[in-house]
Each structure stands twice: as C-alpha cells, then as structure tokens.
C-alpha cells in the first residue's frame, strides 16, 4: 500500500490486489523518520484511477459491438502485472488518531512522508490496546472481521446516553439484551421498557431451562403482576400521569391536587374514594367532567388497585435489583397507548424518587421505540436532568428520526446496524461523536447482525463487529402467517 493523498482528515491510499483491505479496516501509516504514525480507517474502497484502463476496456470491443476473441502469446508473462495494476484500488480513509510514543491523540495535523511511510493493517486487538479500550468490567460485544473479539468496558456505559439503531431485523434487540445481561452480571440495576414483550425471557436459555440470570430478571406486566395502590403514590407522580399522559388542563389539575390532599388527610386515598370525591365535587361542570374522564382512564387501565395485597411494591423490587443486580422488565406488550404512558410516567417518577432519595445509586434504562410512550418534554429531561439523578438511558429504535436531534448530539455511544435509507443515515450522522462519511459509507454496507460501534466505549475509534450470539430464549420474532403452512 502506498500513501497517495491527504485532504483534511481524509487519506487516500493505493492498494494492490494482494493487499486486501475493506471498509471498516484500520491502517497504520507509519513515518519512521517522524517517529509518528497515523491511524486511519477505511471508509470506502474505489477503483484507482489507473491511466489507460478505459482504453484497455474499449479496445476489446470492435465496431461490430461483440467482444474481440483472441489469444495473447505473452512469453514474459506481463499479463498478470497488467491485471495487478488494473485491479489496484483506492482506499478512502478517515484519520482517527496520531500515534506518538505509544500514546494516541486525535490530531491529524501532520503530514507523513509519501515516499517513506509504510502502511500496514492494524488488527483490532492492537488498536484496542493502543486506545486502552480495556477495563475491569469487560463486555464481549462480538467478533471482528480479523477473528478477534471486540470487548468494551461496562464502565464506559456508566453515566452515558446510548443509542442502538438500525433497520428492522438486523439485531438491535439482540445487542440490547447482550448489554443488559452483562450489566446485570456486574450487579447493575437495569430497567427496560419492553414494548413487544421480548425481554421477558432473559432468564431462560434457548433450551427452555433457567439460566444464571433467572433470579435477577423481574418481569412486571401492568394490570397483571404490576398494579399500584394510590396510597403508594406521591402526588407529583400522579400529577405527572394526569398532566403529561392524560393531558389534564391546569385548572382541573389544581382541583385534583386539592381533592388528593383532602383524601390523604382523611386517609381515604383509594380509587373508590377518589371517584366518589370527583363525582361529588362542587365546581365548574367542565372541570368535573375533565377530572371524571381522567379518573375513568386511570380506572380502566387496570394498573391501579385498592387492594394492598395486589399492589406491587416497586421500591422493593428496585432494592432487590440494587443489592444483587437485576433487570426490571416492564412488559408493555398488549398495553394501550394511554396505559403505556401512565405506566411509564409512574415508573420514571418512581425511579427519580428512588434516585433522589439515594435509595438507588444509578439505573440503566433501556427504552425501546420510546416515541411510542415518552412524552416530548421527557426527551430532554431524560438526557439532562435525569442523567444527573443517575438514569443512564439507551434508546433502541428502527426509526432514527423519532429520536430528537438534541438526543443525537448528546449521545455518548451509538451502536449502528445496517440502514439502506439515506434519510435514516443522515439523521444518525448528526451525532456529535460521529462523522457523517463514516456513518453513510460503513453503515450502508453492514451485513445483518453486524454493528458499527461508535463513541466512548471504543475511544471514538469506530469498529465493526458481528454481535455475539446469546443463549437466551428468543421472544422478539415476528409472528408469521405462512411459517407452518409449508
């Protein structure tokens, strides 16, 4: 390989057929005289503009249009050299870092010698070693192209905002499960908003047997094993549900606050008394109607109960998960849109409550297709305010444009699967830790189950890996009509 051009932080390298390099590979451009090296990643592979190739191709087509047939008597065997030159490729590489005295710096301001520099492929283990992407809490994400393992440190997910995105069926949920079980393995508390009920079997192996995580997975299905009594709730949590999930107007909210305080003082805080109080409320008809309709929504959700035996003590589960490490899977499958929002408002309120009281140190929140249950104002809340409380969110989506641009700008890690749609790639490339060319070029060609990891976990050195298989019962498969008919 020979260094051809440098423009900004883009290197162009001539590569010959025997030196196979593909998109995503890392190259070390070493200038021994300067005692420095550039670390560059191949983001595109093109044909080298070899002079005369067009003539070479054209001359095999005579005027008649049919390819010329003939015999080349080539006693000196020059033909392989012609093919060798013709098949030369131009590697478009993005400079990721400069290596000097075994230290990496993000600089690309110097120019290596074009004639003297040596270029060789840099293996992923060596790259990770140089970037010091090692730690005491390894998580093996998967295998790289050079048959090495891509291992990240769990602590690099701590305090971060992460996005897992890619088109349908390419392995997003699989990766999020992998991250979850590893975090749980390191005794972290994980909360999952499980839209399709596919995380409920995290504790069960492929063969149907209980796995090592079985006791640490707590699945809560609203209306079934996840119900709350009003007396467990803090007024702020209920107000959050009414205002944000059920859109209760301000005047009615004030009236509700008054009723709540009155019932609490009378120790009559239950659904039956609340309904009665609203019915008997002496106020404007519109206010009463507004409160009555919200009450019916709460009652119909099946999430609220007056029976203390039925009520789930989320605090206890959180504490259990805190001590041993565990995942609280909030199963939102078969839950209506309004009910989902009620449950999520409650869960988030409860988490903030626990975190602000230091009952919990921090929690890793995995939110799948969050736009379906998260109110708009919550996005910024989650990445700014709640982050300070210790909620570290991972958004999982196949519709990257449903996540606000501000979220991308603040994302610390992006796990990007294949996208063919340019619009989707444009959205993802707005992330601050990502360069648009890399996203557009590499993500476009990622095979299924291959993930481009970007951000803090890989020290800003984007790496492609095939996500490791998990011995966990699959639940995220799409139900098919024709599956068993053949």
């Amino acid at each position: 390989m020979r260094l051809y051009k440098k423009e900004g932080n883009i290197l162009q390298i001539i590569s010959f057929p025997i030196e196979s390099a593909e998109k995503g590979d890392y190259l070390l451009v070493e200038d021994q005289d300067a005692a420095k090296a550039l670390i560059a990643q191949v983001i595109d592979v093109q044909f080298a503009a070899v002079p005369g190739v067009l003539e070479e191709l054209l001359r095999t087509l005579p005027d008649g249009g049919e390819p010329l047939q003939g015999e080349d008597i080539d006693p000196m065997e020059i033909a392989p050299h012609i093919t060798y030159i013709q098949d030369a490729s131009l590697l478009i590489c993005k400079i990721r870092a400069t290596l000097e005295n075994e230290m990496l710096s993000p600089s690309s301001s110097w120019l290596p010698s074009r004639s003297q520099s040596t270029i060789k492929k840099l293996s992923i283990p060596m790259l990770l070693k140089l970037a010091k992407v090692e730690g005491k809490l390894p998580i093996i994400l998967g295998g790289t192209k050079d048959s090495s393992l891509l291992t990240i440190d769990a602590s690099a997910l701590d305090g971060t905002l992460n996005i897992i995105t890619g088109k349908k069926g390419c392995g997003k949920s699989h990766l999020s499960k992998l991250l979850m079980v590893n975090l749980v393995g390191y005794r972290a508390t994980v909360v999952i908003f499980d839209l399709n009920g596919e995380y409920t079997s995290l504790g069960i192996s492929n063969d149907g047997k209980k796995n090592m995580y079985y006791d640490k997975i707590h699945t809560l299905t609203p209306g079934q094993n996840f119900k709350v009594a009003l007396e467990q709730l803090h007024l702020n949590t209920v107000m959050g549900i009414l205002v944000n999930a059920l859109h209760l107007p301000g005047t009615s909210a004030r009236e509700f606050r008054r009723i709540w305080k009155m019932l609490k003082e009378e120790r009559k805080l239950n659904m039956q008394e609340l309904g009665e109080a609203i019915r008997n409320l002496n106020c404007n008809q519109h206010v009463r109607d507004a409160l009555a309709s919200r009450f019916h929504s709460l009652a119909n959700s099946g999430f609220f109960t007056d029976s203390s035996g039925e009520a789930t003590l989320l605090d206890e589960i959180i504490l259990k998960a805190k001590d041993q490490g565990g995942a609280i899977v909030i199963n939102l499958k078969n839950t209506s849109n309004i009910d989902r929002q009620i449950v999520v408002e409650y869960a988030l309120g409860k988490l903030v409550d626990s975190l602000s009281n230091w009952k919990l140190k921090a929690v890793f929140l995995f939110a799948e297709e969050a736009h379906l249950y998260l109110r708009e104002t919550y996005w910024d809340d989650i990445v700014t305010r709640m982050r300070h409380f210790g909620i570290f969110t991972t958004f999982i989506t196949n519709q990257p444009d449903t996540i606000q641009e501000t979220i991308y700008r603040q994302a610390d890690n992006i796990f990007l699967f294949n996208f063919t749609n340019e619009h989707d790639l444009d959205v993802v490339s707005r992330a601050a830790r990502v360069d648009a060319e890399t996203v557009r070029s590499i993500a476009h060609d990622l095979p299924p189950h291959h993930c481009l990891t970007l951000g803090k976990v890989v020290s800003d050195l984007p790496i492609v890996a095939r996500v490791k298989a998990l011995n966990i019962k699959t639940m995220g498969e799409t139900r098919l009509f024709f599956k068993d008919t053949s």
């Binding site: 070899v50 002079p51 005369g52 190739v53 003539e55 070479e56 001359r59 005579p62 005027d63 008649g64 049919e66 010329l68 047939q69 003939g70 015999e71 080349d72 008597i73 080539d74 006693p75 000196m76 020059i78 050299h81 012609i82 060798y84 030159i85 013709q86």
Partner: protein, 358 residues
C-alpha cells in the same frame, strides 16, 4: 495451414510446423538484455515512439488518373488478416534504454474478429549489446542474406523501431506463408531498400503471399506523395465511393525501391482517403478482386479497414500496460526506478514543452 473455407473456429496461427524461432530469440534476447540491467537505477519515460514513415524521396512526376475505378463489394466469404506492431520506450538506464515491443495479427472470419498478440518483449538496449541483439534476431529468422542491411549498426534511439519492424516483418511472413486465398493488410507502404526493410525481404513476403493466392494490400495512414503539389489523398473526385484512383509516375530515389503500385482508396462516404500500395506482381484482376472482397467482408467506417485498425489498437501500449511493464521489471529484475529531473521543465518551467519538441 490457414484454410479460407475451413470450418474451424480457431485461427491456428502459428502452427507447430511453422518456424517460431524469432519469438524464441526475442524472448531469449529480451531476458539476456534485462539481466545486464539488474540493480541499476533507471529513469522513467512516457514518451511514445511513433513509427516514423520512411523519408519518401520521390520524383515529382506523380499523376493521378482522373477516372476513378468503381468498386463493388464481393460478399464471397474471404479471410481478411492484418498485421501491425508497436514499440514504446519505458525508461532509460545509465547505459541505455528499456523498451517494449509487441505485434498483433487480426483477422475477420465468419463475421467475427479474432486476434493473436505476440509480446510484449522487453529489452534493455545498450551501445554494447545493440548489435548483438539486432543481428541475433535478424539471423534467427531472416537467415537469408539480404545484402548489407544487417551489418548497419543501428543508432540506439532507432532500435525500438528496428526491433518492432523486425517483429512486424516476421509476422507478415508467417501470415503470407500460411494464408490461402485471403487478403493480407499491411500497415504502411510497400517501399523497400530501407535499413530495416531490405528489398529481398519484402519481395519474399510478397512472393509467399502470391504463391498462396493471397493479395497484399498496404494502407498508409499518412503520405507525403503529391500530384501537382497537392497530396494524392486530397484529390477526391465527385464520384460515389467506394473507388480507387490510380497513380502513375511514382518513382523513388535509390536505394528505395517500390514493390507495389500506388493507389488512392476511398472506401466510403466519409471524406477520408488513404494511400494504398498493391503488389506490382499481382494481376490487375486479382488486385480488384481482393479489394472487392475486402469491402465485402470487412468494416470500413472511416474508409480504413477495421481489421487493420484493430491490429494497431491491439498492439499499441496503453498507460496501464506501461505501468505494468515497469512493475514487472522492478519486481522480476530488481531494477530501481528513479525520477531524474526533466531539464527542460527544470530550466523553463511552464514554458517547457518537453523533450519531444526540443
């Protein structure tokens, strides 16, 4: 032997019975010469050698017959074959030059074009080895004595053309010896008596062709022959092509001998015409029959036979091939490439027009 009416799809040239001494000697001399240059630095060169036309010193009494000879295509299937060769200077060493030579034969049979390319052969030509290389190659095939020609020491800068010409004449000989009832197209004229085309050599080639009932038609892409001060290819009468114009009074000064009669051929409506030399010894009827078969069997979109055009295209070196040859000599013969400064560019900067215009 090549049979015009053979049903064989493959063109069997060269046949095992044919003397292939020259290619073997080409390879042998090529490898020997390259051994001498190992571990020497050499200067790259992209300058193409144009095969220069022989300086046509002719008498000024040329006349064109005003009446054109109309040609009607003869569709009877006839094998049309053409030969061309090419050479290029790859670079310079401290003792000489590195050149590449290649030849091509193209033919049209069963409405399809086919070809055989021979080479490239790469030579390191120095003052010390130029005579050996040339005379060895010449003796390898043209063992017949052709007078003094082979004794003349070629200038080192003429060697690329001399070697290319040698290969081309050998290919022409092979074709003339093997093709029956065909039309053989040469690139250039039928002038002999030059240093690289002794009279007897060309006579022999034409004689082999005649013996096999084939006709040699030599097309020149450019000519300096003038009638009444105007180039003969620009005297185009208002007549429906294809046609021939006959010339008279073409005589060359000694030692040049023209072995053909000169015509101007305009084969289609494009406003282009070419000098055409046809073997003097061929009967007029056979000449016309050959031309009719040519236009009945070959394409001639720019009034120039496609078979001959393809021969030229196939043997010409592309930039890609030059790079490959440089790669070959660097890898196989460990010749270090250097870029010596171009003195013209160094001294005159943007006002330099390069060595070729010096």
């Amino acid at each position: 032997m090549i049979e015009q009416y053979t049903i064989t799809e493959k063109y069997n040239f060269p046949q095992p019975t044919i003397d292939t001494t020259l290619p073997h000697r080409f390879l042998e001399q090529s490898l020997n010469s390259l051994k001498q240059v190992q571990h020497q630095p050499f200067q790259l060169n992209q300058q193409n050698f144009q095969q220069l036309n022989t300086n046509e010193q002719y008498s000024s009494s040329i006349q064109l017959k005003p009446e054109p000879i109309a040609l009607k295509p003869d569709l009877q299937e006839t094998l049309i074959a053409a030969v061309d060769s090419s050479t290029i200077k790859i670079g310079e060493t401290s003792t000489g030059i590195i050149i590449a030579v290649r030849g091509a034969i193209t033919w049209r049979q069963n409405r399809a074009y086919k070809y055989t390319r021979l080479g490239p052969f790469i030579f390191h030509i120095t003052e010390d080895n130029k005579n050996t290389v040339y005379s060895t190659l010449e003796h390898a095939y043209f063992s017949t004595s052709y007078g003094d020609s082979h004794q003349a020491a070629p200038n080192i800068m003429q060697m690329p053309n001399r070697l290319a010409c040698l290969l081309e004449r050998w290919l022409q000989t092979m074709l003339a010896k093997t093709l029956n009832h065909g039309v053989i197209l040469f690139d250039g004229s039928l002038i002999s008596g030059t240093i690289d085309t002794p009279v007897q050599r060309l006579k022999d080639i034409l004689s082999y062709a005649r013996r096999n009932n084939s006709t040699v038609l030599a097309f020149s892409k450019a000519t300096t022959l003038r009638a009444n001060g105007i180039l003969i290819t620009e005297h185009l009468p208002n007549h429906e092509p294809p046609y021939l114009l006959e010339t008279t009074g073409v005589r060359f000064k000694s030692p040049l001998i023209l072995l053909g009669d000169v015509y101007v051929a305009r084969l289609n409506k494009s406003n282009l015409a070419f000098r055409l030399d046809i073997d003097k010894e061929t009967l007029i009827e056979q000449r016309m029959a050959a031309l009719k078969k040519l236009i009945g069997n070959d394409l001639y979109t720019q009034s120039y036979p496609e078979t001959l055009r393809l021969s030229h295209i196939l043997c010409t070196f592309t930039a890609n091939e030059v790079l490959a040859i440089k790669h070959f000599i660097t890898r196989k013969h460990h010749i270090q490439m250097i870029n010596r400064p171009d003195m013209h560019r160094l001294l005159f900067g943007p006002f330099s027009k390069g060595e070729i215009y010096a």
